[in-house]
């Protein structure tokens, strides 16, 4: 079932025929006005076809040359820009991988390195110690670690001069 607009368009284009044409024209309230509108539409169509027909370029070669030059310039600047930087993607990848490898090697080396004879870093180390030899000529110093879980390092002195109980004052 065609709508009125479809039938109107077909009628304007002269594509209605037979009973369909008769029925459509009978349905129009003012056939004379419709005929006038049809003539105007056909006239407008013919005018537009005439005006919008392709016009040949008078300087076709000049435009073509301009466009080719511009494309060539753009290609050149793009490839020139890429050449000017050292940081190409492959180089970046290789540099990153090398730096990472060096970092890992150094880290592993530093973490695993433990000097021979070095005391465990978890325990306190006595580097040196001395007592006044004039006041304590027989003094001796021993260093050891407690054997329980408290990991106490003990600096044990023997032979220090005893002091009276008054020295225990706060």
């Amino acid at each position: 079932m065609k709508t009125f607009e479809e039938k109107w368009t077909a009628w304007l284009d002269g594509k209605l025929s037979g009973k369909e044409l008769t029925d459509f024209e009978a349905s129009l309230p003012d056939l004379a006005a419709a005929e006038a509108e049809k003539r105007n539409a056909l006239k407008l169509g013919a005018f537009l076809k005439e005006q919008l027909a392709g016009q040949p370029l008078s300087n076709e070669e000049f435009f073509s040359h301009q466009i080719h030059e511009r494309i060539a310039r753009e290609n050149e600047s793009r490839s020139g820009g890429a050449r000017s930087t050292w940081w190409t993607i492959p180089r970046l990848v290789w540099s990153g991988a090398t730096a990472l490898a060096l970092f890992l090697i150094t880290t592993v080396w530093l973490i695993s390195q433990n000097e021979p004879g070095e005391q465990s870093e978890y325990l306190t180390q006595i580097l040196n110690s001395r007592v006044d030899p004039g006041a304590n000529p027989n003094a001796k110093i021993y260093i050891f670690e407690s054997k329980n879980d408290s990991k106490v390092t003990v600096l044990w002195t023997e032979g220090l001069q005893s002091l009276p109980a008054d020295y225990a004052a706060k």
Binding site: W87, I111, Q113, E121, T124, V131, D132, S162
Partner: protein, 179 residues
């Protein structure tokens, strides 16, 4: 421009990482008189963790604090004094190392230096020094490192982790190369 931004980011991360590695610690130092008494007083709270060890090592049943000092180390190069009436323990921190702090300790009896020692005080290992006999008791010096609980309430004293230990080894290695 991009390279500058990258360098800036790397420097910032390194600085932030170094800051994170450096936690503030408190070094506690105490002068203790250990003796045997018929009715021993309870051990001071600072020595609770060491009570069993001290009793086993020295054979005394009472440990009384006659002087103490707590110092928060920020640069690792501070010095301080723990005093009693007659004794003074001067602690001179000479830098942080991979396990703790290098300390120079001097025990004074009034103006005389009784004992001098240099130690790498570990964060996980207290140091106990047996001093002179005092009356029927014994003077002991105790030093330990604790995390600054105000700054890091969630942390507990732990052995150094491999990353920070590696960092200190790198610093030491660079120092040796420079020297």
């Amino acid at each position: 421009m991009q390279l500058k931004c990258l360098l800036f980011a790397v420097c910032f991360l390194m600085a932030a990482g170094t800051t994170l590695l450096r936690a503030e610690h408190v070094v506690w130092s105490g002068l203790v008189i250990a003796q045997n008494v018929p009715q021993p007083a309870p051990i001071p709270p600072e020595l609770t963790k060491l009570e069993q060890t001290l009793k086993e090592l020295f054979g005394y049943n009472q440990f009384e604090l006659i002087g103490q000092s707590s110092k928060t180390l920020k640069t690792g190069e501070e010095d301080w004094l723990a005093n009693s009436k007659y004794f003074g323990l001067h602690v001179d921190a000479r830098g942080e190392n991979e396990g703790g702090y290098t300390l120079n300790l001097k025990l004074y009896k009034e103006n005389d230096v009784l004992l001098e020692t240099e130690a790498n005080l570990s964060k996980s290992s207290p140091l106990v020094i047996k001093g002179p006999q005092v009356g029927s008791g014994q003077l002991l010096l105790v030093l330990s490192v604790k995390e600054d609980e105000e700054a890091h309430p969630h942390r507990r004293a732990q052995p150094p982790n491999p990353v920070s230990a590696g960092w200190y080894r790198l610093r030491r290695f660079i120092h040796r190369v420079i020297r």
